[in-house]
């Protein structure tokens, strides 16, 4: 570990997790998170995000590979790691009959260097709810309580498992602001989410998980840049795809048609769009429903899901042929 600001606070190599029934939820993943970075694990439900985070939190031992948090094994060296981490689980974990204040006081008694509970409850907007029993809180309020407990010890590393699930738009914005403020103070944050917007907004770097593997990783810009941009439009009446200028010459990688709608994929958006519009101008036709969009994280996410389901569909077809 170095003190030059580039040290890796979280290091994961070849990590695997296998559940009792033999299900392999995490299938050999590698990534690292630098101090002060916000890192997002993005994926659909069942992608292996929570299974991964639980290994980082030290709740379970990996079936293979290695995890280091702040230079220690979070499972076997709990005492060295826990005073410096904060954890927000995906789901509550509070006795339903305790009040908000009693819950926070209990947790504060178990956390080294705890901030005053009232201060942290106010920070997450639960200042007026301290006397309320946990069972009477809404789902969003419970998420806020969970966040408050994770922040109580002023942690160096914060694990947030789907921090904004169940929150309304305002609550989500509040949580984002809070995470942003924590990053500004130098807190390292690892969060999981299935909201693309959240990952795009918060993450310095992210990894897209799919079926226990990391399908893509990098900054949001890097992950997006690996994806093609898209142009779609309606073919003018009387025209066919063959009437368009040669697509390969415009830098179009491939195209597909859906009725009268033509969809082009390209890594050279400006060149392809210019070529198409110049052609339309010269031909004097209007390209109705023209839509030109550069690649987005959503695109990346969907194409990863699509690739995998295409593979799955392929397997099904093979099986059908075999039968």
């Amino acid at each position: 570990m170095q003190t030059n600001g580039h040290e890796h606070v979280i290091e994961v190599t070849g990590l695997r997790r296998v559940y009792g029934g033999g299900f392999e939820a995490v299938r050999g993943i590698d990534f690292s998170v630098r101090r002060g970075e916000v890192f997002a694990l993005l994926g659909t439900n069942g992608a292996g995000k929570t299974s991964t985070v639980e290994l980082l939190e030290g709740l379970a031992a990996p079936a293979g590979g290695r995890v280091r948090v702040l230079g220690h094994d979070p499972y076997t060296e709990r005492a060295a790691v826990r005073p410096r981490t904060g954890v927000m689980l995906q789901e509550g974990g509070f006795p339903s009959e305790l009040t908000v204040a009693e819950t926070a006081r209990m947790w504060a008694g178990c956390v080294s260097g705890a901030r005053p509970p009232a201060e942290v409850l106010a920070l997450v907007g639960l200042g007026a709810k301290t006397g309320t029993r946990v069972k009477q809180l809404s789902g969003g309020q419970r998420r806020r309580l969970d966040l408050a407990l994770a922040l109580l010890g002023d942690p160096e590393v914060l694990f947030l498992d789907e921090p904004s699930t169940g929150l309304d738009a305002e609550g989500r914005r509040d949580t984002w602001e809070l995470v942003g403020a924590l990053r500004d103070q130098g807190t390292t944050v690892l969060l999981t989410t299935h909201y693309l917007e959240e990952a795009e907004h918060l993450a310095d770097r992210l990894a897209i998980m799919h079926e226990g593997r990391i399908a893509a990783t990098g900054t949001p810009a890097e992950v997006t840049a690996a994806q093609p941009s898209r142009i779609s439009f309606e073919l003018p009446d009387g025209y066919f795809v063959g009437d368009l200028p040669p697509l390969a010459g415009l830098g179009v990688d491939d195209h597909e048609t859906d009725g009268r709608i033509v969809k082009l994929r390209t890594r050279e958006l400006q060149r392809a769009a210019t070529g198409l519009l110049v052609w339309a101008g010269q031909a004097g036709v209007e390209l109705r429903r023209l839509d030109v969009r550069s690649a987005s994280l959503e695109e990346a996410f969907l194409s990863i899901a699509k690739e995998v389901s295409a593979q799955a569909a392929g397997t099904t077809t093979e099986k059908e042929y075999a039968a």
Binding site: L59, E102, C110
Partner: protein, 271 residues
């Protein structure tokens, strides 16, 4: 590791209190005590039963040949009452606590923090163990006043027996919780140990009144050494060998229970 702290962070956390196992367990036990007070069913079972059931023992005791076994009504009823207290206020109540906290994901959350596993179980168990202790002391006073029970002849045996009983019942509760899936089934799963203990550990009648072979099997039941030590503490007619044998049996059960907890205890609900 402080070398890796940024100056700003070192400043923020400097001079703040570090938790100790005792402070963490106290914080957890305090919350658990609040919860215990709010659970009417548990309060009823753990307070009412040990103070009421012994009288059914007393009714039966008056028909037994107690003098032949070297006992009085008091030395029969008090160990039985303490046995009921251990079974209801400690063992059965704690099975519910462990299972419900697991199903609420409280145990999982506690494990994300600084508490060690043994502190989580210990801190959660503390209020029930204390209530068992307080009940036993109240019962001893009550029996002295109401049943003319004389002062214990070997109080150290009674103290050892009671303390072993409290620890053993908490550990057995964690074992039972390992094999209990829901809060509802936690009403049922403690019953086998409770029935076996009531029938075979000398709660309703002294083992001396049983056939020898049956009695020697019953001596090996988990709660029998506890009752034996408490009763021996009052009567004073327990030989050193008998006392050591009882302590060894209780310790063996405790070690076995701790092993089982380490092996089988579940910290999260099944998926």
């Amino acid at each position: 590791m402080s070398a890796t702290d940024t100056p700003a962070r070192a400043k923020r956390t400097a001079g703040t209190a570090t938790t100790t196992p005792m402070s963490r367990m106290t914080a957890l036990a305090r919350a658990e005590m609040t919860l215990l007070g709010r659970n009417k069913g548990t309060v009823f079972a753990s307070l009412f039963v040990p103070f009421v059931l012994p009288f059914s023992v007393r009714a039966g005791a008056e028909e037994m040949d107690l003098a032949g076994a070297g006992l009085t009504v008091g030395t029969l009823v008090l160990p039985a009452a303490i046995g009921f207290s251990l079974l209801f206020a400690v063992y059965s109540a704690l099975v519910g606590v462990f299972v419900v906290r697991r199903e609420e994901l409280v145990l999982k959350r506690l494990r994300t923090g600084e508490l060690r596993d043994v502190e989580i179980l210990g801190g959660s168990a503390l209020p029930a163990v204390l209530s068992g202790l307080v009940q036993s002391l109240l019962l001893a006073v009550g029996c002295a006043v109401l049943l003319d029970l004389s002062a214990p002849s070997a109080p150290h045996l009674a103290v050892v027996g009671l303390l072993l009983g409290l620890v053993l019942c908490a550990a057995l509760a964690a074992v039972t919780a390992s094999f209990t899936r829901t809060g509802e089934s936690a009403q049922v799963t403690p019953l086998p140990i409770m029935f076996v203990s009531m029938a075979g550990s000398g709660l309703f009648f002294p083992l001396d009144l049983l056939p020898d072979r049956l009695a020697s099997v019953c001596e090996l039941l988990p709660l029998t050494p506890v009752i034996t030590l408490v009763r021996g503490g009052w009567t004073g007619d327990l030989s050193a060998a008998e006392a050591l044998g009882a302590v060894a049996t209780a310790v063996a059960w405790t070690v076995l229970a701790v092993f089982a907890v380490r092996r089988w205890f579940r910290w999260e609900p099944r998926h």
